[in-house]
Symmetry: C2
């Protein structure tokens, strides 16, 4: 059987079965935000936390097969609170993925600046999510220069959130470490980012209720692919990853089990502006 890669398409179906028709070692980047564990069956996906790992693993086996050896798999996920505790399915998943052959290269933090409001007696608002980076081998493609930050913006965002006590502390040590660092920055326009991403969720877009902001897949697509590379989102939902990939002149493949989401994604992609 000749495996054919359905370039620039949104495919309906369970990604585990859809990917079975793909050739080995053909995808440059997998970036996805799978349905989060939830005991309520009505919501999208609705996999029970206790069964999440077993549900995910066979799909991840296909991801491993279709990914190029130099490719990267980015998994955006966050564990729910169950019975007053953080559930352990995400960290169990990390261990099981390693047994499957994945390398757990890095864990990026997505800091959600506008997290969901609420107050509880025993915890604060959850304002971050994991972006887990997995690879097939230690040598993988990474284009760090593509995500460099203008120095001005970086310094400004760094200083914006300083509390009063922090300001005092910074001034108290200005003679030692801080001043030395500043001298290194002088004359340089761009800086490399860190493994903490500060992005707000997109709440005001009424039509596209994207679960993650376009800036999130955009950042990883910049970092791990070049133009013409193939980006896969096996849980593409309303199509954010595919839209961004197309706009950035990458080739995309999106998969979703719900036909209504596929249709929504195809419509959005058609309407999306190709010129950045």
């Amino acid at each position: 059987m000749t495996h054919h890669l359905p370039i620039n398409q949104i495919l309906q179906g369970d990604c585990e079965q859809v990917l079975a028709t793909f050739p080995d070692n053909s995808i440059d980047l997998i970036v996805t935000s799978p349905p989060y564990a939830d005991r309520r069956k009505k919501t999208y996906g609705g996999i029970h936390p206790d069964h999440y790992v077993e549900w995910f693993l066979p799909k991840a086996a296909e991801f491993l097969r279709v990914l190029k050896p130099t490719g990267t798999f980015i998994l955006n996920i966050k564990e729910r609170v169950v019975n007053g505790e953080r559930h352990t399915y995400v960290i169990e998943l990390i261990l099981r993925l390693r047994e499957q052959g994945w390398l757990w290269t890095e864990e990026f933090i997505w800091h959600k600046k506008n997290s969901y409001p609420g107050k509880w007696p025993n915890r604060f608002r959850d304002s971050w999510e994991r972006c887990l980076q997995f690879n097939k081998q230690r040598q993988f493609n990474m284009y760090q220069e593509a995500v460099m930050i203008p120095m001005g913006d970086w310094a400004r965002s760094r200083l914006r959130r300083l509390s009063e006590t922090d300001k005092v502390r910074d001034e108290s040590k200005v003679n030692s470490g801080f001043g030395k660092n500043v001298s290194n920055w002088l004359g340089r326009k761009m800086a490399y980012p860190t493994n903490v991403l500060h992005l707000a969720t997109e709440t005001s877009n009424r039509k596209h209720s994207a679960v993650f902001p376009a800036a999130l897949p955009e950042w990883f697509i910049k970092l791990f692919t070049q133009e013409g590379d193939i980006v896969l989102d096996p849980f593409v939902g309303s199509g954010t990853t595919a839209i961004v990939a197309k706009r950035m002149k990458r080739r995309y493949i999106g998969i979703d089990i719900h036909e209504e989401y596929c249709e929504m994604a195809r419509t959005s992609i058609g309407a999306a502006i190709t010129t950045l």
Copy 2:
């Protein structure tokens, strides 16, 4: 044998053995930054990452015993990179601590705003660490008002006049809710924080190899204790936790296996200003 609690002291020894002499259910908060695996071989003897969990667990069993049922255990830790991968000892430790009887209540992110510049071909600067919260039971002491932060600027316009949607949302609630809510919002300038902490590292403390800014234990001491409560740091190092606890009028107990660190801590505590 009568167990006696050595209040406001720095004790030399392995915390596992030192704590064995402590009574049950006597500590309000354990906050610590244990020696990281392998990283500080010269100072702390360097526990190999593969043996870290086994090394830590018996000590954690003592923490569990001496902690009050309403108390909290905060573990500041970050896994190091081993052979190109994030090592799994921290997430394995979480699973094992739960088996030991701990509840994994929350994971705070300490975002290190001024992480030191550096460049590697396959990763960016690591600018965050985990602050894992464990408890003995679901009901624990938490003083959220003590760590409130200034609200964003948006509040100024919103609170000037209540929006229509806010009125509708409020009216949909129980009849008695509306009036109470308004009174709660009017004049409010402070908001509750999230589970992401933005703190700069301190570069001044060169003698102890751990980079543990005073603001970190301070935040958790504020959040989980009141004046007079007992704060334990079983890996107290140069004494940051104890100094902060004393300054905040909490009682402290510090333990460290190295006598030179204990001496350093005692000296620093003696010199520390008691009035905040």
